[in-house]
Structure formats: structure tokens, C-alpha cells
């Protein structure tokens, strides 16, 4: 998933959710900070703690 594609998403005023493998989702969360996320595995706990 490229940064360009994520930038192209118009998420202003949107609820954003993302779920997938850790490495991929870290990019999403960096680019869309308001995204609620669910990584695979316990990394989600690590990230939120």
C-alpha cells in the first residue's frame, strides 16, 4: 500500500479504521493519525500502552 494512495484518501471528518499485518498498518497509522487500528497479534497492545 503506497503513501500516495493513502494521501489520496479524503479522510477529513471521517471515522477511519484500519486492520492488517503490523508493518503495513504502521504506515497507515502514521499517515492517518486519527485511524483506529487493530494490528494482527499483540502489537496493538504494545502500540497503545
Amino acid at each position: 500500500m503506497s503513501a500516495t494512495q493513502l494521501e489520496a484518501l479524503d479522510v477529513e471528518g471521517h471515522d477511519v479504521y484500519t486492520c492488517g499485518p503490523t508493518a503495513m498498518m504502521e504506515t497507515v497509522v502514521q499517515m492517518i493519525p486519527q485511524a483506529r487500528y487493530e494490528f494482527f497479534g499483540p502489537s496493538a497492545v504494545l502500540a497503545k500502552a
Partner: protein
């Protein structure tokens, strides 16, 4: 309520726990599984081997130590653990087992640096932290449609992709609770040759009148076992849990999924579209024939889903 001296000791020793966190928690799990093998089945042993669980626990212990004087600050961070505990049927009697072995591990790893005063302070702190978990979990169990695991039966199996199967599992007593979109259930697996039960969580793709659709990808011990199960197989399942859920708003919804990560988001998309919300879904997959829930997604496109499928064959599972 902890006294000031106890809180001071716990906060002062937090950096030490951070430095030795993974060593302590790795030793903790080894010690606990030896001393209390009855709790082994609560843990994902694949994550154990990869070192994920010791790291996660070390992080949680450190966070609790830093915020010991205002534990409410860690409530958002512990929500995933609370839901996982509910899903695994963790009960109050399990907390002393963890506490005893954690304190023992701290003592073993830190040696003489772990003075009686420090161990005593941590014992008190653990008691307070455990009480928070037990109290919150008590309420969650009270609100659950059922507690622990009850029998479901595989009613239908669909080959979704070469890697993914969809299972419709129905409660033997016909009673289920609606999974809030994004929630998961836990499946209990009795795997031949394994000396413990195994549990894994699967996102609910859809709640039906008397069961759930789940879509496991064939990777890992339990998912591979699940893929071998056929119609008529009985599988113990726990009630829906999880805090990664669709909020009840009327705002437009954007969903970003990677591969099998589509499963909780599909439920969100279908529900939100049914509520008249605008929904955009960006789904990254390795190839179009490996796109899970492909037909169902196309059906959602017909009712207004804005679907963007990104194909990247260089993608590797992390």
C-alpha cells in the same frame, strides 16, 4: 489504596523494570508454565516463541508502574487485555497465580537488588492492579450473552480463496449475542497430539440468527486445524469481545485493510452501509484471486461501497 511509600518505591523501580522488562517477563512465563501448567492453555504459544507476549507484558507492567498513583490513566491501554481476558474466560482465581510468579521472576532476575521492601511494594501494587482488572472483568462477564466456552457446530464451509475458508458456526443452544462490528470470538481447539487446548481469536464477519461467520486464513497451528474441520464438527466458542468496534455515528467511514485484515472491517462496512453512511474501503492484497470475501465485497459495491483494491505482489506478511 496504596500508601505513599509503596507508590514511591514502585515508581522509583519502574526504570529498572523497563531495563530488565523482557528478561523478567520471559522468565515469568517459563516459571509460571512450570509451576502452574493448568494456565498454559490461556496463552498463544506461537506468540510466546516469537517473544511477543513477554514484550507486551513488560510494556504493560512498566506502564502500570509509572501510573501507579493514577491507574485510571492506563484504562484505555488495558481495554484490549480486558476483552481478551473475557474471551478466554480469565477468572479472579487466576490473578494470584500470575502475581506469585511475576514477583518470583522479579526476584530471580534482579537478585539482591530486589530487596524485601521492593518486593513487598510490588506485591501490594500488583494486588491493586489485579483488583482493577477483576472488577472491570466482572462487569464484562455480567453483560456477556454467555460466560466461558459453549458448543457450536460447523453448519457450512465455503472455500473463499486458496488460503481462506469461511465457516458458519451455529450455537448448539441457538442462543448468540450480536457481535458489534469489529469484535471477535475465541475458538477452543482440541488438536490431536497437543497436550493443551489452544485458543485463537477470529473476527466475526457477520452475526446470523443463531451463529457467526468467521473467515480464518490457513496460517498457524489453530487456523490450519480449523481448515481441516468439516460440517458437523463441534467447536467450543466464547462470546464476542473486543474494543476495536464501529462507533455509532453518522460520519463518513473510511476503512483500510491489509489482506485478511478485511474480516472485521467487512462487518463494519456492511453495517455502516445499512445505516446509510458513506463508506470507502481501501483493500491491499497480494493478488485479486487471494482477495478474501471477494464476492461479498462486490455485493457491497452494488449497495454503495466505494471499494479500492490495491494489488501488490511484493507484499509479505510481517
Amino acid at each position: 489504596m496504596l500508601d505513599q511509600q509503596t507508590m514511591d518505591i514502585v515508581k522509583a523501580t519502574a526504570p529498572v523494570l523497563k531495563d530488565h522488562g523482557v528478561a523478567i517477563t520471559s522468565h515469568f512465563y517459563k516459571r509460571m508454565f512450570e509451576n502452574n501448567p493448568e494456565v498454559r492453555h490461556f496463552f498463544n504459544h506461537t506468540n510466546q516463541k516469537r517473544g511477543r507476549q513477554p514484550e507486551a507484558l513488560a510494556n504493560a507492567v512498566y506502564a502500570a508502574a509509572v501510573h501507579i498513583d493514577r491507574l485510571e490513566a492506563i484504562l484505555p491501554a488495558i481495554q484490549p487485555a480486558l476483552h481478551k481476558h473475557k474471551s478466554l474466560n480469565i477468572r479472579p482465581e487466576h490473578y494470584p497465580i500470575v502475581g506469585e510468579n511475576l514477583l518470583g521472576a522479579i526476584q530471580d532476575v534482579l537478585g539482591e537488588a530486589a530487596t524485601p521492601d521492593i518486593i513487598d511494594a510490588w506485591a501490594k501494587a500488583y494486588g491493586v492492579i489485579a483488583d482493577v482488572f477483576i472488577s472491570l472483568e466482572k462487569q464484562m462477564y455480567a453483560d456477556a450473552p454467555w460466560i466461558g466456552f459453549k458448543p457450536f457446530t460447523v453448519a457450512e464451509v465455503i472455500e473463499d480463496t486458496p488460503e481462506v475458508k469461511r465457516f458458519h458456526i451455529k450455537a448448539n443452544d441457538g442462543v448468540v449475542g450480536t457481535a458489534i462490528p469489529g469484535q471477535y470470538i475465541s475458538v477452543q481447539a482440541h488438536i490431536a497430539g497437543e497436550d493443551i487446548l489452544h485458543h485463537r481469536q477470529y473476527s466475526v464477519v457477520e452475526t446470523t440468527e443463531d451463529g457467526y461467520w468467521i473467515a480464518p486464513k490457513a496460517e498457524g497451528l489453530v487456523s490450519n486445524w480449523l481448515h481441516e474441520q468439516t460440517v458437523g464438527t463441534e467447536i467450543p466458542v466464547s462470546a464476542p469481545a473486543g474494543e476495536f468496534v464501529l462507533e455509532d455515528t453518522d460520519r463518513p467511514l473510511t476503512l483500510v485493510a491489509g489482506g485478511i485484515g478485511i474480516t472485521p472491517l467487512f462487518n463494519m462496512a456492511k453495517t455502516a452501509l445499512g445505516q446509510g453512511r458513506s463508506v470507502t474501503l481501501l483493500h491491499a492484497v497480494r493478488s485479486t484471486n487471494l482477495r478474501p470475501l471477494s464476492e461479498e465485497l462486490d455485493e457491497l459495491v452494488n449497495v454503495g461501497l466505494h471499494l479500492i483494491t490495491h494489488v501488490d505482489d511484493t507484499y509479505q506478511v510481517a
